[in-house]
Structure formats: C-alpha cells, structure tokens
C-alpha cells in the first residue's frame, strides 16, 4: 500500500530504535497526545521496542472519549424523537451515556444513521425535508472545518431541518491542563499531526516555553512515531524545549488557512467539559450566535438532560496520563468493551480499548 507500507517497514524501523537506545541516558516520560497514535503504538507494539528508560503515556486526544456523558445523553434524547434522523460518525454510536447509547436507540426504532462526513448528513437533510436531521459534530480541530462547512452550507441553502449537536474540543488548552497539573508526569510531548495540519504549530511554542517541555508534531505510522520519539528524546537529552515538526510532509507552520477561517466564521471558542476531566476553560468550540438556528441543543431544548458518569470509571486519570489503563481497578472486570463504564474502553481510539484489545493477556 503506497505511502503506508513505507512507514511500517521493520528494516527501516530498526535504525531508529538503535538511535533512540544510543541517545537515552536516563528515564523519560513522553506523552502521545492523539488516540490514533496510542492505537498505533499498542497495535504495532512500539513501546516494546523502546529502551526501558522511555515510558510512553497516553494523552487526552480521543474526541470520542472526551465527549461529556451529558452530551451523549442529549444525543440519546434527541435521537429518540420520532421526527429526528440522527447522523453520527460510527464510533460515537457505542459510547455509553449515563443510561443508554445511540445503538440502543437504534434498536428501539430510532432513526440513527452512520455517516462518513457531515456533508452526507446535509444530503440526508436535503432528501428528507419532512424530518429533522441532526448531526453529532464531535471532534478536535481536525473535524471542525468539515463540520463548519456543513453548517455554513446549510445556511446558504436555507436548510431549516438541519442542525448540529456540537462537542468540539481543542487540543492546546487540554495540554495546558495536563502540563500544569500538580500530578504531571510528562517530560515531552508528541503533538497530534492531523490537528496541526489544520491549525499549524503556532499555539505550541508558548506551551513548550512556559512548561519547558519539548513538543514534536508527529504523524501516526510506526516509523513516524519512532522518529518523533527520537526527536523528543534528543531535545530532552540536550536540555532543549522547542517545537519541532516530524510531520513536515503535511504540516505547515501556519496550518491550513482557509480551514482555519471557516472554523472562525462558524464557531467561537468557549468553555467545554471533557469527559472524566471536567470543564477546561476556553477548550471547546460552540456555534456563533449567527448560526444559533442550527444548534440542536437549542432546537430540541435538552437543557438539564444528562446523568452522572460511572463512579468506578477512572478514564479521566487515564486521559491525563496519570494512570495506565490496567491500573484502573475496573479494567477488564467489570469494565470491558462489552460492558464499558467509560468511553476510553469503547472508542476505537481509547487507550483502555487498545490495552484490552491488544494486551489483555499475552501468554509468554
């Protein structure tokens, strides 16, 4: 497979592993921010290839995992209404709310549909003028431009039956929270490549400076991750704390300017709750007042909907890199992908799911 196999080549990986070994003189903890990176690390066993001094910590970068339980409950409430066609990316469907999930709504007769793009949801709205079509606009900066485009396009076409349930979160404020935590364990960061492809790298320099932490923008394939880890370790060993870009085949310092403009046009930065972590100031996006007519939370009046999270779930600590998935008392029992207590166990990119799926019990 062109442009993928090259980055999974064992022979090409070996020199990077040797180079990391040769560099390391003391223990370092490196956090990969993105859930896609976490899954790559565990799926390919990259952590097993590293010298024991390097500890990888899994960060908060799974949009499915950090979508607050009350918003899943609101999604469930809206999707349960007979006049609604509820469209979502596939991996949100199994995420547990406080009492139910979207797949259960579907099995009870709710019209819940998987789409691959918010523009598909827009098409559903165009095809079903008699129904109300709601799109669950979840994600980091990566999915925000397409979601913004869907809303802007709906307004341009006067689609009065389309709305979005917004749960956009922003990476830099979350990193600020992780790095300024008194429980901080992180020495260096692998920033999420796709997020930076949209937003550029400008927001990371102040973080690196303030917290004296090297940040390397990194892609998702095994070779990318090994190279990113090498760059972080090199900085740490040399006592530097700068922003570097491993993913320069895609990421430009200024990011994708038209995409950023589109986000700014439709969304505004606001406080956001992160599942398991709590409210992080100015860490999310909400629709601007000019687009209030497309805000599903207002249209369906779901103010106050939402129950509590499972008290046994420690996903918030996992997301902040404070504990590893298997250190949670509920991991593996009672919390499994069949009976998830929290989203980190159910999401494709959740750290707990990665450990359960790939590491649960590897016989020697």
């Amino acid at each position: 497979m062109r442009f993928v196999d090259e980055y999974r080549n064992a022979a090409a990986a070996r020199p990077w592993i040797e180079a990391i070994r040769a560099l390391v003189t003391r223990p370092w903890a490196i956090m990969e921010v993105c859930g896609g990176q976490t899954h790559s690390i565990v799926r390919f066993g990259i952590d097993e290839l590293l010298p024991p001094e390097i500890r990888l910590i899994h960060g908060p970068g799974c949009p499915v995992c950090v979508t607050p339980v009350e918003l899943v409950d609101k999604a469930v409430a809206i999707a349960s209404r007979p006049e609604v066609i509820f469209c979502s990316f596939g991996d949100m469907l199994r995420v547990p709310g406080s009492a139910s999930d979207l797949l259960e709504v579907k099995s009870r007769g709710g019209d819940v549909r998987i789409v691959y793009s918010p523009l598909d949801a827009l098409k559903v709205a165009g095809d079903n003028p008699g129904r109300k079509v709601v799109f669950f606009a979840v994600g980091f900066e990566t999915t925000a431009p397409a979601n913004a485009m869907a809303v802007a396009e709906a307004r341009r076409r006067g689609l009065g039956n389309f709305s979005v349930l917004v749960s956009h979160v922003l990476v830099p404020p979350a990193l600020e929270a992780v790095l300024s935590s008194p429980q901080r364990q992180v020495d260096g960061l692998l920033a999420a490549g796709h997020v930076c492809a949209i937003m550029g790298t400008g927001e990371y320099a102040p973080l690196a400076r303030r917290h004296r932490v090297p940040i390397v923008v990194t892609a998702f394939e095994p070779l990318d991750l090994l190279q990113g880890i090498h760059m972080v370790v090199k900085q740490l060993e040399e006592g530097r704390h700068e922003v570097e870009n491993q993913y320069d085949r895609l990421v430009r310092p200024e990011g994708n300017l038209p995409a950023r403009e589109l986000i700014r046009e439709v969304f505004q930065v606001k406080d956001r709750a992160w599942r398991g972590i709590g409210v992080i100031p100015m860490s999310g996006l909400g629709l601007r007042e000019a687009y209030a007519a497309f805000d599903a939370e207002r249209i369906f009046d779901v103010e106050g909907v939402g129950g509590p999270e499972s008290p046994d779930c420690r996903s918030g600590l996992v997301l902040q890199g404070i504990i590893r998935p298997q250190e949670c008392p509920a991991f593996g029992s009672p919390c499994t992908p069949d009976h998830p207590l929290g989203a980190t166990m159910v999401s494709n990119e959740g750290a707990c799911a990665a450990y359960y799926r790939y590491r649960r019990h590897t016989p020697a």
Binding site: R2, F44, G45, I46, L103, P337, D338, H361
Partner: protein, 346 residues
C-alpha cells in the same frame, strides 16, 4: 424431570442489537445464552459449520444459513450466489461433498419479479458450478415495509467420505494454519456500494465455492484437522472460535496474511481492521504441521487456492488466545470483536 444444566450467560441487552449478528463476541454470547441451551443437541455441541449425521450406514453433513445482504447485487456477486456458495461452503468445511440444497425465500410485497428472476438464475448457475441440485423450497411474502426486499435461507446436504472427521476437537498444537487466499474482500466490496464510497482500486467480493479446494486437499492425501470458512467476523473470528473450541493457542504472522492493497487502503481510510472484515470465499485450514507444505502445494495448484498462504501455527500457550506477530516483530492479541466494527471519526 428435565434439569437445565447450562447456566445461560447474562446478556447486556434485552433486545436484539445489530452486533448480535456481527460474528463477534455478542453473537457468540447470544448463541451460548439463548439458542444453544434451548436447542441442546450433541450435533450442535460440536460447534462446526455443518452437523455430521449417521444415517443407516452412511454419513451426511447437514447445514443451514440465512442470507440478508444489502445491496443484493454487489461487485463480484449477488445475494443468490452468496446463498448457494455459503451453504455449499459450510458443507465443504465438514469435509462433505455437497449434494442437495433447499431454498426458502421471504419476499417483501412490491419486490420486482424481474429482480427475482435474476437472483434465481444466479442461484442456478452457482448450484451448477458446485454440482449441487436445488431440490425443495418455500416462499413467503410479507407486507411492504416488513422485510428488506428479499431474504434467502438455504439448507444443504452433503456426503461425508467414510472415516473422515474434521472439526475443532481434532486441532492439535503443532498444526499449521493456512488461509486459501486474501482476506477482507467481501466486506469492503459490499461497503463500497452500500455506503457509496468510491475507491481508486475497485474491490470485488471473493464470493465463491470452496468444495473444490477441500476435494483437492483430500485427494492429495492431506487430512485437515479442521476447516472453517471465514464469513462474518472475518479471519479473526474464525481463529478465535477455533482457539476457544479446541482450547489451544494460535499464533499468526501479520506479514504472511494476504490482504490486497484495495482492501488494506479502504480499511486504513475507515479505521477498520481487515482481519475482522467478512470474506465469502476464503477457507482457513488447520492441517498437521508435517502436511503443511503438501497442503499448500495442493492449494496453489487448485483454482481458487492460488493465493493460499501459511499464516501461523497452533500452540499450547494461552488456550483460547490468538496472538498476532506484527510486522515489526512484536506480539499482540488478535481478539474477538465486541460489537460490529464502526468507522472512526478521524
């Protein structure tokens, strides 16, 4: 007094979910907690694709399957072919020579008869290709909106050669694990049409019969320990089922599992794992280790088996566990899926 000795596993859901048909852990739970305890029979307990029944001196393999596929016509096949090949393959997996099929159809009011003609012709062509006769059938019509156009059930009977017994209980540590060709094609082919996703390399379903490969193995003097066609749940589900039912470990090598570029690319894009994506014409064969080379040579020389590969070995370690040796040389679990695979956000 009839005493219920099986303790049904508690199910998480009190209604049927889509994942209960997905070939993963939830489907297994449903079978183990509801259907197998209710039906209780020795033949069902063998957990094989077809039941082998003794009948006045001869041995018959008997199986049934129901086909619900959307869209009904997809790149590389249609629901009719699938319904014939699927049941033929289940018979073949018991080592049987397929002989007779029954066809039951549930038709939805308003379903075009012209399409039914096409499906029926396709079934007949597939049956001829397999050397089986369609000997009995049934049709039912349901109200508009109460079906999905057409559902097909087929049941099949085949003859099992004297003395031959294949199944999970014959699998032993040291057995080689072979796959008859690349995996994941059917699921991607169906998805590409169903979800309207166009890929640069169009992927055709692998939908096809496997009895020829089984016949060639037996004819070549290879007696497999166990055969299983990879359908829902893909290769990973088959390996996990056999590992569990035979109480053995299985170790497979990522570098040896054939996946065509179109399937790999589509799965990358959607965040799916090709080892969990459905096949409809691929056989996983467990053969004694010392027969592995011969078995591969036979498969390579037989139509449909050109792409066969030895992907791993049965071990004593970790009964019920499938381990994948990654391309980077590390090891990880290849688990049974919890629900259906769902495409990811980004």
């Amino acid at each position: 007094m009839d005493i219920q000795l099986n303790c049904p596993v508690p199910l998480r859901h009190d209604t049927i979910q889509m994942a209960h048909g997905g070939g993963g852990r939830m489907m297994r739970e449903l079978l183990e907690s509801v259907l197998l305890p209710a039906f209780r029979s020795e033949a069902l307990d063998t957990r094989h694709d077809a039941a082998v029944l003794a009948l006045e001196g001869s041995r018959l393999a008997f199986t049934t399957d129901t086909y619900v596929v959307r869209p009904r016509f997809f790149p590389g096949g249609d629901i009719g072919e699938l319904a014939v090949y699927g049941t033929v393959n289940d018979l073949a997996m018991a080592g049987a020579r397929p002989l007779y099929l029954s066809v039951g159809m549930v038709l939805e009011e308003g379903y075009p008869i012209e399409e039914l003609r096409r499906v029926a012709a396709s079934m007949k062509a597939a049956a001829d290709r397999c050397g089986v006769s369609i000997v009995t059938g049934d049709t039912k019509v349901v109200d508009r909106g109460k079906g999905d156009g057409l559902y097909i059930n087929t049941a099949g009977i085949g003859a099992v050669p004297a003395g031959l017994s294949v199944g999970p209980r014959h699998v032993r540590p040291g057995d080689a694990v072979l796959v008859s060709g690349d995996v994941g094609r059917h699921g991607v082919a169906v998805m590409s049409v169903r979800e309207g996703i166009a890929f640069t390399t169009p992927v055709e379903s692998d939908c096809g019969p496997l009895h020829g490969l089984v016949g060639a193995l037996l004819g070549g003097g290879v007696v497999p320990s166990c055969l299983r066609d990879a359908t829902r749940g893909g290769l990973a589900a088959v390996l996990n089922e056999i590992a569990t039912d035979a109480a053995v470990g299985v170790e497979v090598h990522e570098a040896d599992i054939p996946v065509i570029a179109g399937v790999e690319g589509a799965c990358e894009l959607l965040g799916l794992d090709p080892y969990y994506v459905a096949c409809e014409g691929r056989m996983v064969a467990f053969v004694p280790g010392d027969a592995a080379e011969r078995a591969l040579a036979v498969l390579h020389a037989t139509p449909g088996g050109e792409g066969a590969s030895r992907i791993g070995t049965v071990t004593e370690k970790g009964p019920g566990t499938v381990i994948l040796r990654t391309r980077l040389g590390t090891r990880r679990i290849l688990d049974l899926l919890s629900g259906e695979q769902l495409p990811r956000i980004c």
